[in-house]
Symmetry: C2
Subunit: 324 residues, 2 copies
């Protein structure tokens, strides 16, 4: 065993803040500018490497009266917060297959303050995803590939997807545990596999974890131990359902002196804790149940949104177990 590997830090590791993007799935992306600005300033002050602002979804597919600005991430919205972003913080948006008019809405990098485009897709969307990756790369962006819900794909499918992704210009392959169902041993296997396909072409591997089983932080550590150099986290774990890996835990673990915890706690105190009065996220029992049964969290989200069904754990347990 290596002697006390936790004593030093690995400077190659870069952290992406997904507070606004994944958190937007909790409140239909309706964060006000003050909140987004606070998160932006916090990322800069804390030395976070990337900040993901939201989705660049098509205005023809999503109702602008119901979804906030961060569902669309127009250049104007972003510049209202970051100006020309004269900081070391890289800005990212997510485009997901089937919901994005990427041909038109992803504009050439020269005209955009965005640095990085993350392409999210399910196994059945690989053909479009590879087109999206190539398009965004040709337009001048750094591109990451996020295969969602990897826990529901077969090993053969994942192998094939990775074989295809290895030939794209994506620079990062992200292990995504959408349902928060994975244990450390599964993370180890996937990270090792993703690395084996990515290494030959100089790609890094990332981790995006969900906290259904209170394993988002632990699984992110596990991914790092096995070679992942890109990690997603969010302030207070803010994110859909059970939420994501909490930034305050991750930066403390990384021990890289470039990361500062104080600005994180400042924003947690002033902006994120008050938010919990209006919106909810975290590893509530309903999310444990969907996670442990490798299911999409939507049933749990619905159960918790309705005061008639929220915290009726046994009713929900029976429903989940009988539907299997």
């Amino acid at each position: 065993m290596t002697k006390a590997p936790w004593i030093m830090c690995r400077s190659e590791i870069k952290v992406l803040d997904c507070t606004i993007r994944d958190g937007g799935l909790v409140n239909n992306h309706q964060f006000d500018d003050d909140f987004v600005h606070a998160v932006y300033n916090t990322c800069v002050a804390a030395g976070v490497d990337y900040m993901e602002l939201g989705y660049k979804n098509s205005e023809r597919m999503f109702d602008k009266t119901k979804c906030g600005a961060w569902r669309f991430c127009n250049e104007e919205s972003i510049r209202r917060i970051v100006g020309d972003n004269a900081t070391p913080l890289k800005l990212a948006v997510m485009i997901d297959a089937g919901k994005t008019d990427w041909q038109n809405d992803v504009i050439p990098k020269q005209q955009s303050v965005i640095d990085t485009v993350r392409v999210a897709f399910y196994v059945h969307q690989v053909p479009e995803a590879t087109d999206m990756i190539r398009d965004a790369h040709e337009k001048g962006y750094e591109v990451w590939a996020n295969l969602m819900a990897a826990s529901t794909a077969t090993e053969e499918e994942i192998d094939k997807v990775l074989e295809i992704l290895a030939e794209t210009p994506a620079s990062v392959l992200v292990v995504v545990d959408s349902y928060g169902s994975m244990y450390a041993e599964q993370i180890e296997r996937l990270v090792t596999k993703y690395l084996s396909f990515g290494r030959g072409t100089g790609k890094e591997v990332g981790i995006h974890a969900h906290n259904n089983q209170q394993l988002a932080f632990a699984n992110s550590i596990e991914a790092i131990i096995h070679g992942a150099n890109r990690v997603d986290a969010s302030l207070g774990g803010l994110g859909r359902g059970a939420g994501n890996c909490p930034m305050e835990l991750m930066l403390g673990f990384l021990r890289n002196p470039k990361f500062k915890l104080r600005p994180i706690y400042d924003t947690l105190e002033r902006c994120v804790a008050p938010l919990q009065k209006n919106i909810e996220w975290g590893p509530y029992p309903e999310f444990i149940m969907t996670g442990q049964n490798n299911q999409h969290p939507r049933a749990a989200i619905e159960a918790r949104e309705n005061p008639q069904t929220r915290d009726h754990y046994v009713e929900f347990y029976d429903r989940i177990m009988m539907q299997q």
Copy 2:
């Protein structure tokens, strides 16, 4: 790598519920009989192996007007809940060095409904702890040895403690992460070390984790992977400060068909969730900070108990960092 080790279960693993014992540190052990009875029935119905009811502390050292019955665990109090305990559930109490009149208060096993005595002690209390272990064993109990705050002891000290414990009649050596400061790699090293001392004399290794860094469940899994066959958990993670490993997560992970989740969710819904209106536990930022800095949670508990200081994360952060 072993192929999908998570598919099967390991029947040697036994689970100890510490809801009332560790949870008692949150409310001065003032659970009413209905609650204790509910937890007892739940443990029986869920197939949990042990239930720890509290401390057997000296009435001369603790104020009976301030502490509830589960600080003392008199035979009468316990029998009021369990009768003669005609169930497969084993009952445990904890006796801690320096706070227990064990010579008098631990009565012979023939007169008691208690099965197991857990001796808790710090490194500097090993002489008394070994006396306590031998005494409880001679009186007829199964005895576990819980070296607390292992994260603050040197490797040399831990080696010496384990060398001494190996010669006692304790049947389980528990890795205790009192401050919730440990990462998986540290758990691996300690479990491996404890096993190396315990194996020759047929002792098992246990894990008692705290959730300061949301790692109680993950670290318990890690301990199991590396050979621990005894694991502590509590309903909803109820326990001091950030709490313990949640029982609902652990039983789902273990996959042993003898364990039933439905009774756990039933009691979470009816008894534990309502409790959260009156008492608080969980991985709040103050507990992250003491955990990440390997400190006793008492400063965090005090900060959160006072409405003037609760959720003042930056103030607390500055205090923790400057005191180092």
